[in-house]
Symmetry: C4
Subunit: 173 residues, 4 copies
């Protein structure tokens, strides 16, 4: 873990805070030597409730990992648009349906409400976080997510290998 | 092929799937040592028909390589715009006209239909793929293609050689 | 300081000039080896008054460091929008309130006025700079700030470590 | 010149062709070791007249170097906007005014006309090139120029030196 970097973009408000951090994909090497995306990347959103002035309870942190397509929804949002995503961390396992998470982004007069709702029927708990973000904060989120999107897709390895070019032949179009 | 990377952006739907992958340009070295683009880059679109639930037939894969200018068309599309491109893989050879491919992107109520049509008069086959994409998926395609465009053009080699600067002279504007 | 680079974007006008330069964040190493953002990055704006034709007085330079969120405001501005930011360099110290800076960006017929106001009650001075920028100059500012934003947030360290992949397991979605 | 790279974006039409290539800035080292932009970067536009089908006369090539602010004008253009730039290659020398170049970009029904006009009173020549570009081609120009702009400004050297961080102190906001 020696080269992990923590540089979250955080929005701290009165009742709760959230932060965004990119999570890169992992790759697996094939026998041919080629690399294939193994685990897909995401933008991790972490929410914490406020427990005092400028103090937040990291023990009650809840997470929601935005996929590339969910990041696309966020990037494409106009001023009056809203979106909502539903995740089940145990999807396709025997615990499916026991924890349900929904993230919504809804417009208000001067920006958006970003809200996370987590219902855990195993622990019989409900957590709800709602953070108002200004249009400026949302612009940072959009710009940073647009920047990060090709990286979480693994498209940042696009550098043409100029030192492996074939020699001799030259063609201009 | 030890440093090839596979990180396609895939859209899987009921009747067919397609994926996007950037293909970088190749360079040729001139006698002067300078590098010139030899083969241009593209965004490769690969379509497969569905043959069951979440299963796709890779033996019936058909491809369509978007040029830089075709990528420009895709990036510039507004919500109500459509576009269509025609390729002949044997253009300018004696087989010209025997295989005709057309790719179209057309708006529908909540996104676009991305369709590939391939007519092969040699094999007497016709293949047709049509994949509905949501506005979120199309936003990912636009963002990823905008990111990739300078790379497929070979413009990603733009890093000023700061360790080769002339010495002594300093000028501010 | 051997690898510092000065490449400001400067707008020189009749009564004053300003320049924009990105300031990168600094990182601190945790015991785990991970890196955490220590001091946040910014876009530094520096203003100088004119003291003759194409001459500016660097002794009277005043600075204003735009945070990531303030950069988000600038990027999100439409043609008729305006914004204003207030900074107190001594905030939370015993000198709080003695120096007050405000930066405003306001539309005019063919672009914007970018103005900095500095009131120093200790020195009993007031400085005011106002620089008209064209829409073309503002487009450069927006594009350059959009480019720099992920860097001042520390998100530019997003390169997936492809040479650290787990071996053997290969999965396609 | 061993690491020069030629990857122009070219638009070939019936009467003329033009290509765009980024030119990076050069840097000068100060005594302190810091680097300062010496010569500013640009986007070089090169025009050639047609002399036959798909043949162009490189002996009659004329150039026009777009500055960062002129690139900003191009990037900011809406569908109905036009712009025009005037250059004098001998500005501020004794030959000022003897060669006048103007580049204009004007909308037409399905894209833009990009035209270069060069009047040389020394050689008593006039050259005029006019190339129709489609909206797709213009989208490529805008995307590529937006990508290149921070590079021609020298802002691409923005990578935080994470291996030079101060040790010990850790602060979260």
């Amino acid at each position: 873990a020696s080269d992990r970097i923590f540089a979250p973009y955080s929005v701290y408000k009165g009742k709760a805070a959230f932060s965004l951090s990119p999570c890169l994909p992992t790759f697996t090497k094939l026998d041919s030597g080629a690399l294939v995306v193994d685990r897909r990347g995401s933008i991790m959103m972490s929410f914490m409730p406020a427990i005092g002035e400028r103090k937040y309870d990291s023990d009650k942190k809840q997470r929601f990992a935005l996929s590339a397509t969910e990041v696309g929804s966020l990037i494409a949002m106009g001023p009056q648009d809203s979106c909502e995503f539903f995740h089940d961390p145990s999807m396709k396992s025997s615990n499916a349906g026991q924890v349900r998470k929904s993230l919504s982004i809804k417009p208000h007069s001067n920006g958006y409400f970003v809200s996370l709702n987590v219902v855990n029927t195993l622990l019989n708990t409900k957590d709800n976080f709602s953070v108002p973000v200004t249009t400026a904060e949302f612009a940072v989120m959009k710009t940073a997510c647009s920047f990060a999107l090709p990286h979480i897709m693994g498209w940042d390895h696009l550098t043409s290998p100029t030192n492996q070019q074939s020699s001799g032949k030259v063609s201009f179009q």
